[in-house]
Protein backbone atom coordinates (compact mmCIF):
# COMPACT_ATOMS: atom_id res chain seq x y z
CA UNK A 1 0.00 0.00 0.00
CA UNK A 2 1.41 3.44 -1.01
CA UNK A 3 0.79 6.57 1.05
CA UNK A 4 -1.13 9.29 -0.81
CA UNK A 5 1.06 12.30 -1.66
CA UNK A 6 0.85 15.42 0.53
CA UNK A 7 -1.68 17.90 -0.79
CA UNK A 8 -0.32 20.92 -2.58
CA UNK A 9 -2.82 23.18 -0.83
CA UNK A 10 -3.98 22.39 2.67
CA UNK A 11 -6.36 24.45 4.79
CA UNK A 12 -6.91 23.35 8.38
CA UNK A 13 -9.56 25.02 10.51
CA UNK A 14 -9.25 28.22 8.53
CA UNK A 15 -11.93 30.82 9.31
CA UNK A 16 -12.52 34.43 8.39
CA UNK A 17 -15.03 37.05 9.48
CA UNK A 18 -15.53 40.66 8.46
CA UNK A 19 -16.89 43.45 10.68
CA UNK A 20 -17.62 43.37 14.39
CA UNK A 21 -20.65 43.31 16.67
CA UNK A 22 -23.98 43.48 14.88
CA UNK A 23 -22.15 44.05 11.57
CA UNK A 24 -20.12 40.86 11.94
CA UNK A 25 -20.27 38.52 8.97
CA UNK A 26 -18.73 35.06 9.20
CA UNK A 27 -17.54 34.80 5.64
CA UNK A 28 -15.89 31.44 6.25
CA UNK A 29 -16.49 29.11 9.16
CA UNK A 30 -13.62 26.78 10.19
CA UNK A 31 -12.80 24.95 6.98
CA UNK A 32 -10.63 21.96 6.12
CA UNK A 33 -9.67 21.58 2.48
CA UNK A 34 -6.93 19.59 0.73
CA UNK A 35 -6.12 19.96 -2.95
CA UNK A 36 -3.78 17.55 -4.68
CA UNK A 37 -1.22 18.43 -7.31
CA UNK A 38 -2.32 17.87 -10.91
CA UNK A 39 -6.00 18.47 -10.23
CA UNK A 40 -8.45 21.12 -11.30
CA UNK A 41 -11.08 21.77 -8.68
CA UNK A 42 -14.18 23.91 -8.90
CA UNK A 43 -15.34 26.08 -6.04
CA UNK A 44 -19.05 26.72 -6.36
CA UNK A 45 -21.67 28.52 -4.35
CA UNK A 46 -24.03 31.46 -4.40
CA UNK A 47 -22.84 35.02 -3.99
CA UNK A 48 -21.61 35.68 -0.44
CA UNK A 49 -21.02 32.00 0.25
CA UNK A 50 -17.30 32.51 0.86
CA UNK A 51 -15.78 31.40 -2.47
CA UNK A 52 -13.78 34.58 -2.99
CA UNK A 53 -12.70 34.51 0.66
CA UNK A 54 -11.23 31.03 0.14
CA UNK A 55 -9.39 32.33 -2.94
CA UNK A 56 -8.13 35.38 -1.04
CA UNK A 57 -6.95 33.22 1.85
CA UNK A 58 -5.06 30.77 -0.35
CA UNK A 59 -3.67 33.75 -2.29
CA UNK A 60 -2.40 35.33 0.95
CA UNK A 61 -4.42 38.45 0.16
CA UNK A 62 -6.41 38.48 3.39
CA UNK A 63 -5.36 37.17 6.77
CA UNK A 64 -7.41 34.40 8.36
CA UNK A 65 -8.73 34.68 11.90
CA UNK A 66 -7.48 31.24 12.77
CA UNK A 67 -6.25 27.96 11.36
CA UNK A 68 -3.29 26.84 9.30
CA UNK A 69 -2.50 27.21 5.59
CA UNK A 70 0.12 25.05 3.93
CA UNK A 71 1.10 25.84 0.36
CA UNK A 72 3.45 23.59 -1.61
CA UNK A 73 4.78 22.05 1.62
CA UNK A 74 5.41 25.41 3.31
CA UNK A 75 3.33 26.51 6.27
CA UNK A 76 2.54 30.09 5.38
CA UNK A 77 -0.05 30.75 8.08
CA UNK A 78 -0.41 29.20 11.52
CA UNK A 79 -2.11 31.63 13.85
CA UNK A 80 -0.09 34.34 12.06
CA UNK A 81 1.79 34.80 8.78
CA UNK A 82 5.00 32.78 8.69
CA UNK A 83 6.32 34.81 5.77
CA UNK A 84 6.90 38.54 5.97
CA UNK A 85 6.88 39.16 2.23
CA UNK A 86 3.54 37.84 1.06
CA UNK A 87 3.89 39.43 -2.37
CA UNK A 88 7.07 37.44 -2.89
CA UNK A 89 5.15 34.34 -1.81
CA UNK A 90 2.52 35.08 -4.45
CA UNK A 91 5.16 35.81 -7.05
CA UNK A 92 6.91 32.50 -6.46
CA UNK A 93 4.11 30.07 -5.66
CA UNK A 94 0.80 31.37 -6.98
CA UNK A 95 -0.56 32.35 -10.36
CA UNK A 96 -3.77 34.36 -10.70
CA UNK A 97 -6.32 34.32 -13.49
CA UNK A 98 -9.13 36.86 -13.40
CA UNK A 99 -12.62 37.15 -14.77
CA UNK A 100 -11.74 40.00 -17.10
CA UNK A 101 -8.13 38.88 -17.73
CA UNK A 102 -6.82 42.08 -16.01
CA UNK A 103 -3.97 42.51 -18.40
CA UNK A 104 -2.05 45.74 -17.91
CA UNK A 105 -3.45 47.84 -20.77
CA UNK A 106 -0.29 49.87 -21.32
CA UNK A 107 1.94 46.82 -21.79
CA UNK A 108 2.06 44.60 -24.86
CA UNK A 109 0.91 40.99 -24.70
CA UNK A 110 4.51 39.85 -24.32
CA UNK A 111 5.36 42.55 -21.75
CA UNK A 112 2.39 41.52 -19.60
CA UNK A 113 4.15 38.20 -19.13
CA UNK A 114 7.67 39.64 -18.97
CA UNK A 115 6.71 41.97 -16.11
CA UNK A 116 5.99 39.02 -13.80
CA UNK A 117 9.28 37.43 -14.74
CA UNK A 118 11.36 40.56 -14.22
CA UNK A 119 9.66 41.10 -10.85
CA UNK A 120 10.88 37.61 -9.95
CA UNK A 121 14.43 38.61 -10.87
CA UNK A 122 14.81 37.25 -14.39
CA UNK A 123 16.88 39.29 -16.84
CA UNK A 124 15.19 41.07 -19.70
CA UNK A 125 16.43 38.50 -22.22
CA UNK A 126 15.37 35.56 -20.04
CA UNK A 127 11.95 37.13 -19.51
CA UNK A 128 11.48 37.69 -23.23
CA UNK A 129 12.49 34.14 -24.05
CA UNK A 130 10.20 32.64 -21.41
CA UNK A 131 7.28 34.84 -22.52
CA UNK A 132 7.77 33.68 -26.10
CA UNK A 133 7.78 30.04 -24.95
CA UNK A 134 4.56 30.48 -22.98
CA UNK A 135 2.78 32.33 -25.76
CA UNK A 136 3.82 29.60 -28.15
CA UNK A 137 2.65 26.92 -25.69
CA UNK A 138 -0.76 28.60 -25.36
CA UNK A 139 -0.91 29.39 -29.07
CA UNK A 140 -1.16 33.14 -28.67
CA UNK A 141 -0.30 35.16 -31.75
CA UNK A 142 0.81 38.78 -32.10
CA UNK A 143 2.93 39.12 -28.94
CA UNK A 144 3.58 42.79 -29.65
CA UNK A 145 -0.12 43.68 -29.84
CA UNK A 146 -1.73 45.65 -27.03
CA UNK A 147 -4.39 43.83 -24.94
CA UNK A 148 -7.10 46.04 -26.45
CA UNK A 149 -6.17 44.73 -29.90
CA UNK A 150 -6.87 41.04 -29.23
CA UNK A 151 -10.07 39.09 -28.66
CA UNK A 152 -11.40 38.17 -25.19
CA UNK A 153 -10.38 34.54 -25.67
CA UNK A 154 -6.86 35.51 -26.72
CA UNK A 155 -6.60 37.93 -23.78
CA UNK A 156 -7.64 35.19 -21.38
CA UNK A 157 -4.94 32.92 -22.81
CA UNK A 158 -2.41 35.68 -22.19
CA UNK A 159 -3.70 35.94 -18.61
CA UNK A 160 -3.12 32.20 -18.24
CA UNK A 161 0.36 32.58 -19.70
CA UNK A 162 1.06 35.33 -17.18
CA UNK A 163 -0.22 33.12 -14.35
CA UNK A 164 2.15 30.37 -15.49
CA UNK A 165 5.15 32.63 -16.04
CA UNK A 166 7.03 31.77 -12.86
CA UNK A 167 5.93 28.13 -12.99
CA UNK A 168 3.75 28.39 -9.87
CA UNK A 169 2.33 25.16 -8.52
CA UNK A 170 -0.89 26.81 -7.40
CA UNK A 171 -3.17 28.60 -9.82
CA UNK A 172 -6.16 30.54 -8.56
CA UNK A 173 -8.77 31.44 -11.13
CA UNK A 174 -11.65 33.77 -10.37
CA UNK A 175 -14.50 33.23 -12.85
CA UNK A 176 -12.04 32.72 -15.73
CA UNK A 177 -14.72 31.81 -18.24
CA UNK A 178 -17.50 34.19 -17.22
CA UNK A 179 -16.78 36.58 -20.06
CA UNK A 180 -16.33 33.86 -22.70
CA UNK A 181 -18.73 31.91 -24.90
CA UNK A 182 -19.09 28.10 -24.48
CA UNK A 183 -16.48 27.24 -27.07
CA UNK A 184 -13.84 29.58 -25.71
CA UNK A 185 -14.72 28.66 -22.11
CA UNK A 186 -14.12 25.01 -23.02
CA UNK A 187 -10.75 25.87 -24.59
CA UNK A 188 -9.66 27.78 -21.47
CA UNK A 189 -10.69 24.91 -19.19
CA UNK A 190 -8.84 22.42 -21.39
CA UNK A 191 -5.78 24.61 -21.12
CA UNK A 192 -6.02 24.71 -17.34
CA UNK A 193 -6.37 20.94 -17.23
CA UNK A 194 -3.35 20.60 -19.48
CA UNK A 195 -1.30 22.90 -17.24
CA UNK A 196 -2.38 20.99 -14.12
CA UNK A 197 -1.36 17.68 -15.62
CA UNK A 198 1.85 18.72 -17.34
CA UNK A 199 3.17 20.97 -14.59
CA UNK A 200 1.82 19.11 -11.58
CA UNK A 201 -0.08 22.18 -10.49
CA UNK A 202 -3.28 22.61 -8.48
CA UNK A 203 -5.83 24.78 -10.24
CA UNK A 204 -8.61 26.19 -8.07
CA UNK A 205 -11.42 27.74 -10.04
CA UNK A 206 -14.19 29.87 -8.53
CA UNK A 207 -17.10 29.75 -10.90
CA UNK A 208 -20.82 29.99 -11.47
CA UNK A 209 -20.42 28.82 -15.03
CA UNK A 210 -22.54 25.70 -15.58
CA UNK A 211 -21.11 25.05 -19.03
CA UNK A 212 -17.74 24.05 -17.53
CA UNK A 213 -18.95 21.93 -14.59
CA UNK A 214 -18.02 18.69 -16.30
CA UNK A 215 -14.40 19.69 -16.69
CA UNK A 216 -13.37 19.63 -13.00
CA UNK A 217 -11.65 16.78 -11.19
CA UNK A 218 -13.58 17.71 -8.07
CA UNK A 219 -16.25 20.18 -7.11
CA UNK A 220 -16.55 21.88 -3.72
CA UNK A 221 -19.68 23.77 -2.84
CA UNK A 222 -19.77 26.54 -0.28
CA UNK A 223 -22.90 27.82 1.39
CA UNK A 224 -22.88 30.43 4.17
CA UNK A 225 -19.18 29.88 4.70
CA UNK A 226 -19.45 26.12 5.07
CA UNK A 227 -18.45 23.36 2.66
CA UNK A 228 -21.49 21.28 1.73
CA UNK A 229 -21.99 18.21 -0.42
CA UNK A 230 -22.61 19.02 -4.08
CA UNK A 231 -26.23 18.35 -5.04
Amino acid sequence: MTASPAPLVSLRGVAKHYGEGSARVDALKPLDLDIQAGTVIGLLGPSGSGKSTVLNLIGAIVEPDQGRIILDGETVYDGGWRRRDLRRLRLEKIGFIFQFHNLIPFLTISENIEVVLTLAGRTKAQARRRAAELLDYLQVERPQAMPSQVSGGQAQRVAIARALANSPRIILADEPTAALDSERAGIVMDLLRKVAREQGASVIVVTHDEKIMARFDALHVLRDGILVEPS
Binding site: S52, I61, R87, R90, F96, N102, P105, F106, V115
Partner: protein, 376 residues
Protein backbone atom coordinates in the same frame (compact mmCIF):
# COMPACT_ATOMS: atom_id res chain seq x y z
CA UNK B 1 10.79 47.59 -18.10
CA UNK B 2 9.74 51.09 -17.15
CA UNK B 3 6.05 51.01 -16.32
CA UNK B 4 5.78 54.81 -16.02
CA UNK B 5 7.06 55.34 -19.57
CA UNK B 6 4.86 52.53 -20.91
CA UNK B 7 1.77 54.05 -19.31
CA UNK B 8 2.62 57.50 -20.65
CA UNK B 9 3.15 56.08 -24.13
CA UNK B 10 -0.25 54.40 -23.90
CA UNK B 11 -1.97 57.70 -23.04
CA UNK B 12 0.38 59.91 -25.04
CA UNK B 13 -2.18 62.44 -26.27
CA UNK B 14 -3.57 63.06 -22.82
CA UNK B 15 -0.08 63.26 -21.35
CA UNK B 16 1.09 65.79 -23.96
CA UNK B 17 -1.95 67.99 -23.40
CA UNK B 18 -1.46 67.84 -19.64
CA UNK B 19 2.22 68.71 -20.03
CA UNK B 20 1.34 71.58 -22.34
CA UNK B 21 -1.04 73.07 -19.76
CA UNK B 22 1.50 72.62 -17.02
CA UNK B 23 4.24 74.05 -19.26
CA UNK B 24 2.23 77.23 -19.69
CA UNK B 25 1.79 77.49 -15.93
CA UNK B 26 5.48 76.90 -15.25
CA UNK B 27 6.25 79.29 -18.12
CA UNK B 28 4.33 81.98 -16.25
CA UNK B 29 6.42 81.22 -13.13
CA UNK B 30 9.63 81.52 -15.18
CA UNK B 31 8.41 84.72 -16.82
CA UNK B 32 7.59 86.24 -13.41
CA UNK B 33 11.15 85.63 -12.29
CA UNK B 34 12.39 86.90 -15.67
CA UNK B 35 10.28 90.05 -15.33
CA UNK B 36 11.78 90.65 -11.89
CA UNK B 37 15.31 90.17 -13.26
CA UNK B 38 14.42 92.54 -16.08
CA UNK B 39 13.07 95.06 -13.59
CA UNK B 40 16.32 94.98 -11.62
CA UNK B 41 18.43 95.17 -14.77
CA UNK B 42 16.36 98.07 -16.13
CA UNK B 43 16.58 99.89 -12.82
CA UNK B 44 20.35 99.55 -12.76
CA UNK B 45 20.92 100.58 -16.37
CA UNK B 46 20.53 104.26 -15.55
CA UNK B 47 22.86 104.07 -12.58
CA UNK B 48 25.49 101.98 -14.30
CA UNK B 49 25.42 103.67 -17.70
CA UNK B 50 27.61 106.68 -16.75
CA UNK B 51 30.23 104.41 -15.10
CA UNK B 52 30.67 106.84 -12.20
CA UNK B 53 32.35 106.20 -8.84
CA UNK B 54 30.58 108.95 -6.93
CA UNK B 55 27.18 110.68 -7.11
CA UNK B 56 27.05 114.20 -5.65
CA UNK B 57 23.50 115.42 -5.01
CA UNK B 58 21.61 118.12 -3.11
CA UNK B 59 22.45 118.04 0.61
CA UNK B 60 20.07 115.97 2.75
CA UNK B 61 18.60 114.17 -0.23
CA UNK B 62 19.12 110.74 -1.72
CA UNK B 63 18.76 111.87 -5.31
CA UNK B 64 18.54 111.96 -8.13
CA UNK B 65 16.35 108.80 -8.58
CA UNK B 66 14.91 108.08 -5.14
CA UNK B 67 14.37 111.78 -4.35
CA UNK B 68 14.58 114.97 -6.36
CA UNK B 69 17.88 116.82 -6.23
CA UNK B 70 18.91 120.22 -7.53
CA UNK B 71 22.38 121.69 -7.61
CA UNK B 72 23.83 124.73 -9.29
CA UNK B 73 25.86 123.94 -12.38
CA UNK B 74 29.06 125.49 -10.95
CA UNK B 75 29.10 122.80 -8.25
CA UNK B 76 30.66 120.59 -10.91
CA UNK B 77 33.82 122.76 -10.92
CA UNK B 78 34.03 122.67 -7.14
CA UNK B 79 33.72 118.89 -7.10
CA UNK B 80 36.27 118.46 -9.87
CA UNK B 81 38.82 120.35 -7.79
CA UNK B 82 38.50 118.12 -4.69
CA UNK B 83 41.62 116.08 -4.09
CA UNK B 84 41.09 112.47 -5.14
CA UNK B 85 38.58 113.20 -7.91
CA UNK B 86 39.82 112.58 -11.44
CA UNK B 87 36.93 114.07 -13.39
CA UNK B 88 33.37 115.27 -12.88
CA UNK B 89 30.35 115.99 -15.04
CA UNK B 90 26.92 117.48 -14.46
CA UNK B 91 23.75 115.62 -15.47
CA UNK B 92 20.02 116.29 -15.59
CA UNK B 93 17.16 113.77 -15.62
CA UNK B 94 13.58 114.35 -16.70
CA UNK B 95 10.66 112.57 -18.33
CA UNK B 96 8.86 113.77 -21.44
CA UNK B 97 5.95 112.45 -23.41
CA UNK B 98 6.11 112.53 -27.19
CA UNK B 99 3.84 111.48 -30.01
CA UNK B 100 5.34 109.82 -33.05
CA UNK B 101 3.28 108.30 -35.85
CA UNK B 102 0.17 108.79 -33.74
CA UNK B 103 1.69 106.77 -30.91
CA UNK B 104 2.26 108.34 -27.51
CA UNK B 105 5.23 107.28 -25.48
CA UNK B 106 7.23 108.44 -22.51
CA UNK B 107 10.94 109.05 -22.80
CA UNK B 108 13.51 109.55 -20.09
CA UNK B 109 15.81 112.43 -21.04
CA UNK B 110 19.39 112.57 -19.77
CA UNK B 111 21.37 115.73 -20.25
CA UNK B 112 25.15 115.37 -20.03
CA UNK B 113 28.33 117.17 -20.84
CA UNK B 114 30.06 115.50 -23.80
CA UNK B 115 33.52 114.28 -22.85
CA UNK B 116 32.70 114.17 -19.15
CA UNK B 117 31.18 111.50 -16.85
CA UNK B 118 27.53 111.01 -17.69
CA UNK B 119 27.80 110.36 -21.40
CA UNK B 120 26.27 107.14 -22.67
CA UNK B 121 28.36 104.05 -23.29
CA UNK B 122 27.41 101.47 -25.84
CA UNK B 123 26.29 103.56 -28.83
CA UNK B 124 25.58 100.72 -31.25
CA UNK B 125 24.54 102.75 -34.28
CA UNK B 126 25.65 106.19 -35.46
CA UNK B 127 28.03 108.23 -33.30
CA UNK B 128 28.13 110.09 -29.96
CA UNK B 129 26.91 113.68 -29.79
CA UNK B 130 29.57 115.89 -31.41
CA UNK B 131 27.80 119.26 -31.48
CA UNK B 132 26.70 121.58 -28.69
CA UNK B 133 23.03 121.56 -29.64
CA UNK B 134 20.14 119.71 -31.25
CA UNK B 135 21.59 116.23 -31.44
CA UNK B 136 20.12 113.20 -29.71
CA UNK B 137 21.16 109.67 -28.92
CA UNK B 138 18.05 107.54 -28.57
CA UNK B 139 17.56 104.01 -27.39
CA UNK B 140 16.25 101.84 -30.19
CA UNK B 141 13.27 100.82 -28.06
CA UNK B 142 11.97 104.39 -28.64
CA UNK B 143 11.51 103.54 -32.30
CA UNK B 144 13.31 106.74 -33.30
CA UNK B 145 15.33 106.05 -36.44
CA UNK B 146 18.86 107.20 -37.03
CA UNK B 147 18.80 110.50 -38.92
CA UNK B 148 15.17 111.26 -38.06
CA UNK B 149 14.18 114.39 -36.16
CA UNK B 150 12.23 114.86 -32.96
CA UNK B 151 10.64 118.11 -31.84
CA UNK B 152 11.12 118.79 -28.14
CA UNK B 153 10.51 122.07 -26.27
CA UNK B 154 10.24 124.07 -29.48
CA UNK B 155 13.48 122.73 -31.00
CA UNK B 156 14.12 120.01 -33.58
CA UNK B 157 16.66 117.37 -32.59
CA UNK B 158 18.37 114.95 -34.97
CA UNK B 159 18.97 111.37 -33.90
CA UNK B 160 22.72 110.82 -34.43
CA UNK B 161 23.21 107.63 -32.41
CA UNK B 162 21.29 104.70 -30.99
CA UNK B 163 21.79 102.60 -27.88
CA UNK B 164 20.28 99.25 -26.93
CA UNK B 165 18.70 98.39 -23.59
CA UNK B 166 18.94 101.91 -22.11
CA UNK B 167 15.68 102.34 -20.20
CA UNK B 168 14.60 103.91 -16.92
CA UNK B 169 13.26 101.92 -13.96
CA UNK B 170 9.76 102.10 -15.46
CA UNK B 171 11.00 100.60 -18.73
CA UNK B 172 10.75 103.85 -20.71
CA UNK B 173 13.46 104.30 -23.35
CA UNK B 174 16.21 106.82 -22.63
CA UNK B 175 17.35 109.64 -24.92
CA UNK B 176 20.55 111.58 -24.37
CA UNK B 177 21.18 115.24 -25.24
CA UNK B 178 23.71 117.86 -24.27
CA UNK B 179 23.36 119.37 -20.82
CA UNK B 180 22.63 122.81 -22.27
CA UNK B 181 19.77 121.47 -24.38
CA UNK B 182 18.43 119.48 -21.45
CA UNK B 183 18.54 122.50 -19.12
CA UNK B 184 16.68 124.56 -21.68
CA UNK B 185 14.11 121.80 -22.14
CA UNK B 186 13.65 121.43 -18.40
CA UNK B 187 13.67 125.01 -17.17
CA UNK B 188 12.73 127.34 -20.03
CA UNK B 189 9.05 128.15 -20.27
CA UNK B 190 7.31 128.38 -23.61
CA UNK B 191 4.48 130.45 -25.10
CA UNK B 192 2.07 132.13 -22.68
CA UNK B 193 3.92 130.91 -19.62
CA UNK B 194 7.15 132.50 -20.92
CA UNK B 195 5.38 135.78 -21.70
CA UNK B 196 3.84 135.88 -18.22
CA UNK B 197 7.25 135.20 -16.66
CA UNK B 198 8.79 138.04 -18.72
CA UNK B 199 5.95 140.41 -17.75
CA UNK B 200 6.76 139.73 -14.08
CA UNK B 201 10.38 140.67 -14.76
CA UNK B 202 11.63 137.14 -14.01
CA UNK B 203 14.03 135.06 -16.07
CA UNK B 204 14.29 131.27 -16.25
CA UNK B 205 17.02 129.84 -14.04
CA UNK B 206 18.66 127.38 -16.42
CA UNK B 207 21.74 127.04 -14.31
CA UNK B 208 20.58 123.95 -12.42
CA UNK B 209 21.50 120.29 -12.68
CA UNK B 210 20.26 117.18 -10.84
CA UNK B 211 23.55 115.53 -9.92
CA UNK B 212 27.29 115.68 -10.40
CA UNK B 213 28.95 112.43 -11.43
CA UNK B 214 32.57 111.94 -10.47
CA UNK B 215 35.22 109.40 -11.31
CA UNK B 216 38.13 108.61 -9.04
CA UNK B 217 41.58 107.46 -10.09
CA UNK B 218 42.09 103.66 -9.99
CA UNK B 219 43.57 103.84 -6.47
CA UNK B 220 40.99 106.37 -5.26
CA UNK B 221 39.43 106.09 -1.82
CA UNK B 222 35.66 106.39 -2.24
CA UNK B 223 34.87 106.71 1.49
CA UNK B 224 37.44 109.46 2.01
CA UNK B 225 36.16 111.33 -1.04
CA UNK B 226 32.56 111.04 0.17
CA UNK B 227 33.66 112.51 3.52
CA UNK B 228 35.52 115.29 1.73
CA UNK B 229 32.44 116.22 -0.34
CA UNK B 230 30.11 116.13 2.63
CA UNK B 231 32.17 118.73 4.45
CA UNK B 232 30.02 121.04 2.36
CA UNK B 233 26.71 120.84 4.14
CA UNK B 234 24.71 121.68 1.03
CA UNK B 235 25.98 118.54 -0.71
CA UNK B 236 25.51 114.82 -0.19
CA UNK B 237 27.66 112.14 -1.80
CA UNK B 238 26.81 108.55 -2.58
CA UNK B 239 29.14 105.84 -3.79
CA UNK B 240 28.12 103.88 -6.88
CA UNK B 241 27.16 100.93 -4.65
CA UNK B 242 25.08 103.19 -2.37
CA UNK B 243 23.23 104.55 -5.38
CA UNK B 244 22.53 101.05 -6.73
CA UNK B 245 21.30 99.83 -3.33
CA UNK B 246 19.14 102.93 -2.96
CA UNK B 247 17.56 102.45 -6.34
CA UNK B 248 16.93 98.76 -5.80
CA UNK B 249 15.55 99.41 -2.32
CA UNK B 250 13.34 102.32 -3.33
CA UNK B 251 12.20 101.30 -6.77
CA UNK B 252 12.44 97.53 -7.06
CA UNK B 253 11.92 96.20 -3.55
CA UNK B 254 8.12 96.27 -3.55
CA UNK B 255 7.99 94.85 -7.05
CA UNK B 256 10.38 92.12 -5.92
CA UNK B 257 8.13 91.21 -2.99
CA UNK B 258 5.05 91.37 -5.17
CA UNK B 259 6.54 89.15 -7.86
CA UNK B 260 8.08 86.86 -5.22
CA UNK B 261 4.67 86.31 -3.61
CA UNK B 262 3.03 85.81 -6.95
CA UNK B 263 5.68 83.22 -7.82
CA UNK B 264 5.04 81.37 -4.56
CA UNK B 265 1.29 81.40 -5.30
CA UNK B 266 1.90 80.06 -8.81
CA UNK B 267 4.23 77.33 -7.52
CA UNK B 268 1.60 76.36 -4.96
CA UNK B 269 -1.04 76.24 -7.71
CA UNK B 270 1.36 74.12 -9.81
CA UNK B 271 1.84 71.74 -6.88
CA UNK B 272 -1.90 71.37 -6.40
CA UNK B 273 -2.48 70.86 -10.13
CA UNK B 274 0.30 68.26 -10.44
CA UNK B 275 -1.05 66.53 -7.31
CA UNK B 276 -4.56 66.45 -8.79
CA UNK B 277 -3.31 65.18 -12.15
CA UNK B 278 -1.25 62.44 -10.47
CA UNK B 279 -4.22 61.63 -8.23
CA UNK B 280 -6.48 61.28 -11.29
CA UNK B 281 -3.89 59.21 -13.15
CA UNK B 282 -3.59 56.93 -10.11
CA UNK B 283 -7.39 56.62 -9.83
CA UNK B 284 -7.46 55.58 -13.49
CA UNK B 285 -5.02 52.77 -12.71
CA UNK B 286 -6.56 51.30 -9.56
CA UNK B 287 -7.23 47.93 -11.17
CA UNK B 288 -3.80 47.79 -12.82
CA UNK B 289 -2.08 48.66 -9.53
CA UNK B 290 -4.17 46.08 -7.67
CA UNK B 291 -3.22 43.51 -10.32
CA UNK B 292 0.46 44.40 -10.03
CA UNK B 293 0.27 44.01 -6.26
CA UNK B 294 -1.57 40.72 -6.60
CA UNK B 295 0.96 39.24 -8.99
CA UNK B 296 3.72 40.17 -6.57
CA UNK B 297 4.99 43.65 -7.47
CA UNK B 298 6.68 45.23 -4.45
CA UNK B 299 5.68 48.69 -3.21
CA UNK B 300 8.80 50.22 -4.72
CA UNK B 301 7.58 49.24 -8.21
CA UNK B 302 4.24 50.94 -7.59
CA UNK B 303 5.96 53.94 -6.01
CA UNK B 304 8.34 54.26 -8.96
CA UNK B 305 5.39 54.18 -11.38
CA UNK B 306 3.71 57.14 -9.66
CA UNK B 307 6.78 59.23 -8.78
CA UNK B 308 8.46 58.75 -12.17
CA UNK B 309 5.31 59.89 -13.94
CA UNK B 310 5.11 62.98 -11.73
CA UNK B 311 8.78 63.77 -12.34
CA UNK B 312 8.51 63.15 -16.07
CA UNK B 313 5.46 65.37 -16.24
CA UNK B 314 7.18 68.11 -14.25
CA UNK B 315 10.44 67.76 -16.19
CA UNK B 316 8.89 67.81 -19.64
CA UNK B 317 6.55 70.66 -18.68
CA UNK B 318 9.38 72.66 -17.17
CA UNK B 319 11.67 72.27 -20.19
CA UNK B 320 8.79 73.16 -22.54
CA UNK B 321 7.77 76.14 -20.39
CA UNK B 322 11.36 77.40 -20.15
CA UNK B 323 11.87 77.00 -23.90
CA UNK B 324 8.60 78.77 -24.63
CA UNK B 325 9.38 81.75 -22.41
CA UNK B 326 12.95 82.01 -23.70
CA UNK B 327 11.57 82.07 -27.24
CA UNK B 328 8.99 84.79 -26.58
CA UNK B 329 10.92 86.83 -23.98
CA UNK B 330 11.80 89.47 -26.59
CA UNK B 331 8.14 90.16 -27.33
CA UNK B 332 7.24 91.25 -23.79
CA UNK B 333 6.74 95.01 -23.46
CA UNK B 334 9.28 95.04 -20.64
CA UNK B 335 12.56 93.24 -20.43
CA UNK B 336 12.37 89.57 -19.40
CA UNK B 337 15.72 88.09 -18.44
CA UNK B 338 15.82 84.30 -18.19
CA UNK B 339 19.03 83.48 -16.30
CA UNK B 340 20.59 80.02 -16.22
CA UNK B 341 20.94 80.22 -12.43
CA UNK B 342 17.23 80.95 -11.96
CA UNK B 343 16.32 78.12 -14.32
CA UNK B 344 18.53 75.71 -12.34
CA UNK B 345 17.01 76.76 -9.00
CA UNK B 346 13.47 76.59 -10.38
CA UNK B 347 14.18 73.16 -11.90
CA UNK B 348 15.19 71.93 -8.44
CA UNK B 349 12.02 73.50 -6.99
CA UNK B 350 9.91 71.77 -9.66
CA UNK B 351 11.52 68.41 -8.77
CA UNK B 352 10.61 68.97 -5.11
CA UNK B 353 7.11 70.14 -6.10
CA UNK B 354 6.59 67.03 -8.25
CA UNK B 355 7.84 64.74 -5.50
CA UNK B 356 5.48 66.44 -3.02
CA UNK B 357 2.61 66.39 -5.48
CA UNK B 358 3.07 62.67 -6.09
CA UNK B 359 2.73 61.90 -2.37
CA UNK B 360 -1.06 61.97 -2.62
CA UNK B 361 -1.01 59.51 -5.50
CA UNK B 362 1.59 57.31 -3.79
CA UNK B 363 -0.44 57.21 -0.57
CA UNK B 364 -3.52 56.31 -2.56
CA UNK B 365 -1.70 53.64 -4.59
CA UNK B 366 -0.16 52.00 -1.54
CA UNK B 367 -3.60 51.71 0.06
CA UNK B 368 -5.12 49.91 -2.90
CA UNK B 369 -6.18 46.43 -1.84
CA UNK B 370 -4.80 43.75 -4.19
CA UNK B 371 -8.14 41.95 -3.76
CA UNK B 372 -9.67 44.65 -5.97
CA UNK B 373 -8.09 42.88 -8.93
CA UNK B 374 -10.37 39.93 -8.27
CA UNK B 375 -14.03 39.86 -9.14
CA UNK B 376 -15.91 41.73 -11.81
Amino acid sequence: MNLAVRDIRHHLGRFILTCLGLALLLGVVISMIGIYRGLVADALVLVRAPQADLWVVEGGTRGPFAESSRLTYDTRNAIARIAGIAEAGAVTYQSVQIETDGRRQRLFVIGYEPGRPGQPHGVIEGHPIDRSHFQLIADRRSGLALGSTLRLGGDDFTIVGRTAGHVDSAGNPVIYMTLKDAQKLQFQLLGGAARQQAARGETANRNQVNAILARLPPDGDVAATVAAVERWKHLSALSQQDQENLLLGAVVDKARKQIGMFTVVLLTVSTVIIALIIHTMTMDKIREIATLKLIGAPDRTILALIVQQALLMGGISFVTGAGLITAVAGYFPRRVIVEAGDIAVLAAVVVVVCALASLLGVRQALRIDPARALGG
